[in-house]
């Protein structure tokens, strides 16, 4: 079975730190980072913990829920190393 993996892109100047992407993420892999944009809002960042099963599965919910059109998800092209069955 293929496991979908995604990576997120944040358009920095658009984010307003409403935290909807962080709180509504189905796999809870987004966190508030230390990094701020020019208006002082903290941007979301991807923190994956594969051993606990917390990975970005490229569902794209953060992308469609973001009110600012600031975050979007791209499905990773390369095959993830599959564990033995």
């Amino acid at each position: 079975m293929k496991i979908f993996r995604g990576e997120i892109h944040v358009i920095k100047e658009r984010c307003k730190q409403c935290r909807l992407c962080i709180n509504l993420c189905p796999t809870q892999v987004l966190q508030e980072s230390e990094e701020v944009n020019e208006k002082g809002y903290h941007l979301p960042e991807l923190i994956e913990e594969p051993e606990k099963g917390k990975i970005c599965v490229a569902c794209g919910f953060c992308q469609i829920i973001c009110p600012e059109y600031a975050i979007w998800v791209e499905e990773k092209k390369e095959e993830t190393p599959t564990e033995k069955k």
Binding site: C18, R19, N23, L24, A70
Partner: protein, 286 residues
């Protein structure tokens, strides 16, 4: 120097919505956590899904926060006077019947000052898709009481709680004869997209209400000050009941929010078709 870098980044990284946006106007003025953004994205994805040509899409908006949307989207848009979005859209549809005319406006615009236009457009069955972004309050002007504020909730002009009975807007549309009536929230984006796509393939007056968070002016006065609080309220208390009787879907304080595709009527004669038939009958076929 920093500007140049951000421009390069912009070119490099484009959100999938950017093909519908006037990207140079971003970031928009809407508050953090506003529900207008997800609603417009759901609408754009629905247009993509149905496959409507971008040049055939018209977006008419009224006054209010959601009125700004017509300036941000890269489609033919009109920002009309207060409450007159529907009459303006009817005019466009009569002059150019091949266009896909959409009215996306707020609850104050459609149900307060534009209330009569709404019910009469439903009655005449004008061929429009009307999306009402309902945030329960007049957001842009500072949080005054709207005709959709639930009883017992607080607003700037109702500091001791609202004593008025609010509109049950799907029931208004249903009773006035709309062919398609649905209600979703801006958190239920995927179902909202499907619902809008279904409505886009139909003819006649179609109405979709989208419950939207307004953390700044509604939430702050009603113990829901953060965007997450309202999102959590929508998530916890929504009950999806497709085909529900619209007289029972009134939004009340501390009661579940009933969502779903409520009404799908058999398509009937639209106002434009009736006008064409009348013309043929009176003047003879040309």
């Amino acid at each position: 120097m920093s500007k140049q870098i951000s421009k390069e980044e912009k070119l490099e990284e484009l959100h999938p919505m950017d093909k519908w946006l006037r990207s140079e106007r971003m970031p928009h003025i809407w508050c953090p956590g506003c529900g207008i953004g997800p609603t417009l994205y759901a609408w754009a994805r629905a247009l993509d899904r149905v496959g409507i040509d971008k040049d055939k899409v018209v977006y008419v908006s009224g006054i209010g926060c959601s009125g700004r949307g017509s300036g941000y989207l890269n489609v033919d848009g009109f920002h009309t006077t207060h409450g007159r979005a529907i009459p303006f859209a009817i005019g466009i549809k009569l002059a150019k019947p091949e266009l896909c005319v959409n009215v996306i406006s707020g609850d104050g615009d459609l149900f307060s000052i534009g209330g009569n236009h709404f019910i009469h457009a439903c009655r005449r069955n004008d061929d429009l898709l009307v999306i009402c972004i309902n945030n329960f309050i007049y957001g842009m002007t500072g949080g005054q009481l709207a005709p959709t504020t639930p009883r017992g909730q607080y607003a700037t002009t109702a500091p001791y709680g609202n004593i008025e009975h609010p509109f049950n807007t799907p029931h208004v549309a249903d009773a006035s004869g709309a062919v398609y009536v649905a209600r979703w929230t801006s958190i239920h984006v995927r179902r909202l997209e499907k619902s809008i796509a279904e409505a886009l393939t139909m003819k006649g007056f179609r109405y979709i209400e989208v419950l939207s968070p307004c953390p700044v002016n509604y939430g702050r006065r009603n113990k829901l000050p953060e965007p997450d609080d309202i999102a959590e309220w929508f998530r916890q208390s929504s009950v999806v009941r497709n085909g529900a009787d619209t007289s029972e879907v009134q939004i009340e304080k501390d009661k579940p929010l009933i969502l779903g595709n409520f009404v799908k009527r058999v398509e009937k004669l639209t106002y434009y078709e009736g006008l064409k038939k009348l013309e043929e009958r009176v003047r003879g076929a040309r």
